[in-house]
């Protein structure tokens, strides 16, 4: 599966005001950051989603935060993701930004190779990024350059792997007592 597949089809009933607003935001985004910055632009269930690169993510988020028209002052959440079947783009970070003044949400994605999981930190823009990035480091092993305190947060410190990566199954694959002949699990 690729991230392109993961991006959802259009919402069953696309509401016009949301679509119009998203188109406006998208126009502004391309004006601010140039053509070709965003790929895979779509709006699953009305939430504008775009993929960019890790080289530009910090600049883009900082620009969105400072932009007087959009005012993306709020970082709702960020999380890591792992697509092992995507060579060169195995790992990803997904950011949800929220502009409370305009009530616009925006989802930004970046993908990068698992061998080189280095991403710029957003802690200098949002205080809240601190623990979110520690969580992504803890579970996916994503390294945030510039993070003041990048240590594990929920798991024990001496854990030597990053458990949310797809290579670690929830259950022990060698167990046979749980295999179900009829339903295959």
């Amino acid at each position: 599966m690729t991230p392109q597949d993961a991006a959802a089809p259009e919402a069953p009933v696309a509401e016009d005001p949301i679509k119009a607003q998203n188109a406006q935001v998208l126009a502004l985004l391309t004006r601010l950051f140039g053509e070709g910055t965003f790929t895979n632009v779509n709006e699953p269930y009305g939430l504008l989603t775009a993929t960019t690169t890790r080289e530009r993510i910090h600049e883009i988020v900082a620009g969105l935060q400072q932009d007087q028209e959009l005012k993306f002052h709020f970082l709702t959440t960020m999380c890591g993701i792992n697509y092992p079947e995507n060579p060169g783009q195995e790992l990803g970070m997904i950011y949800h930004l929220h502009s409370m003044t305009k009530n616009i949400r925006l989802r930004l994605k970046i993908f990068f190779p698992i061998a080189d999981p280095v991403v710029p930190t957003l802690t200098d823009l949002y205080n809240t990024a601190n623990w979110m990035e520690r969580e992504a480091y803890d579970f996916f092993g994503i390294i945030f350059t510039g993070h003041p305190n990048l240590i594990r947060i929920l798991n024990v410190e001496d854990m030597d792997y990053h458990p949310m990566r797809r290579e670690y199954p929830v259950e022990d694959g060698t167990r046979e007592d749980k295999t179900d002949l009829f339903f295959g699990r």
Partner: protein, 420 residues
């Protein structure tokens, strides 16, 4: 040396250390010219209401720095969710914020419904609103009354705990459980509001306002209480936004952000309610905002009950809505669907959806990525208190230990949600 001089020196060290390592919240103080005491607050401490640890550096009575350690009850919900069919994930959600589990359950169902494109009938939406507001009242009652306990006033706690008990009895009538409710189903509610549930709800709506009034009389203008909470742990609106505060804590700082009003779900747009906001974001404001929200929740429940429409209590979505047991025993189709749903044989559509609800302590978000299988490809919970708890050291530094306890209490940090 006067106490104030010592304090000034400590703050200076703190500021210098912070300037050296920008972004670092908890400077490590290696200056031994000051006699600092290390105090281990937690992981199990009667005043922390959950299992989380803070290693505090104390200069006498004052807190110089704090390092929170969390994750003591981490149960890997996000990883487990990658293995479970959608209906089984419900039981994970009510173990997050266990003070308001129906909100978590119903928020999760709404997320799945959004992914599936299922529209829930009005009656089910109104029942959900009633249950979610009851849960919000129960959550706020606990938070505020425990805040009273932490300042030394036990009476209020005992008094409103009876009312919470009655709310739990209403839960029992609606879903059969009290704490981990597993309420509702994907596509609606699992049963209609029974006459017994309605009776209990109506009786409670009659008796509760008087109790709440008395609780407010006991605290709101109480001199001893106000001395303990006014101007304790204030946070500015800009700081609160930067720290990702949501819910009553953000509103106490003066930002009128409420998911129910900004992105209405489950027919919240049909009801009239106010969003109380504070001014300084201190402990007192958080307390007052929560109290006022209880009144607003009551208003919503009363409106929903008055306007409760007739009709089905679940959507006509046999592929996703778990049929009732009597149906399963009588009806072949229901049996087939029951079997398929329980065995996880029904695939969800490909898609990604973010849905958020106004939880007891903030914006509770579910980010669900489905690759078309029986389970989510990835499920991320936006847990409000995990996000805002990181501001705690900053709010506690400079205060005394007793104030730190009060601040922690007023932030409504729920360990189960913090660690997920």
């Amino acid at each position: 040396m006067a106490v104030n001089d010592t304090l000034e020196g400590t703050h200076k060290i703190h500021e210098e250390a912070a300037a050296q390592r920008p972004g670092q919240l908890m400077p490590i103080l290696n200056d031994f010219s000051q006699e600092l005491t290390t105090l281990n607050l937690g992981p199990t401490h009667p005043a922390t209401h959950g299992i989380f640890q803070n290693i505090l550096q104390m200069d006498g009575e004052r807190i110089v720095s704090g390092v929170p350690t969390i994750g003591y009850i981490h149960r890997a919900f996000e990883k487990l969710a990658e293995r479970k069919p959608f209906y089984q994930i419900t039981t994970l959600t009510d173990r997050m914020n266990y003070c308001s589990s129906p909100i978590n359950n119903l928020g999760w169902h709404m997320t799945v419904e959004k992914l599936l494109g299922v529209t829930v009938p009005k009656r089910a939406q109104y029942i959900r609103v009633i249950m979610m507001e009851l849960a919000r009242i129960a959550d706020h009652l606990i938070c505020n009354s425990i805040l009273g306990v932490d300042t030394g006033a036990f009476t209020g706690f005992l008094y409103v705990f009876q009312e919470r008990e009655k709310i739990y009895e209403i839960y029992e009538e609606v879903c059969g459980a009290r704490l981990t409710t597993n309420m509702g189903r994907v596509g609606g509610m699992e049963r209609d509001l029974s006459p017994a549930a309605l009776d209990k709800l109506r009786a409670w709506l009659k008796s509760f306002p008087a109790v709440m009034k008395e609780f407010e009389n006991m605290f709101n203008r109480n001199r001893i209480f106000m001395d303990r909470v006014v101007n304790v742990g204030p946070i500015s609106a800009e700081k609160a936004l930067s720290y990702g505060f949501t819910g009553p804590n953000l509103r106490a700082a003066g930002v009128d952000y409420d998911v129910r009003a900004m992105n209405p779900y489950s027919s919240y747009e049909d009801f009239e309610f106010d969003i109380p906001v504070g001014t300084n974001g201190d402990t007192y404001d958080r307390f007052i905002v929560r109290n006022e929200e209880i009144w607003q929740s009551l208003r919503i429940i009363n409106q929903a009950l008055d306007k409760l429409p007739d009709g089905p209590y679940h959507a006509d979505a046999p592929h996703y809505y778990l049929p009732t047991k009597p149906e399963v025993y009588k009806n072949m189709e229901a049996l087939i669907y029951h079997f398929k749903i329980v065995m996880g044989e029904i695939d969800a559509p490909v898609g990604e959806v973010y849905h958020s609800v106004e939880g007891g302590n903030g914006e509770l978000g579910f980010y669900l990525i489905s690759d078309g299988g029986r389970t989510p490809y990835r499920l991320h919970f936006r847990r409000p208190c995990f996000i805002y708890y990181q501001a705690y050291p900053e709010m506690a530094v400079g205060t005394t230990l007793s104030d730190a306890i009060v601040i922690l209490s007023s932030m409504n940090v729920i360990a189960g949600e913090l660690d997920a």
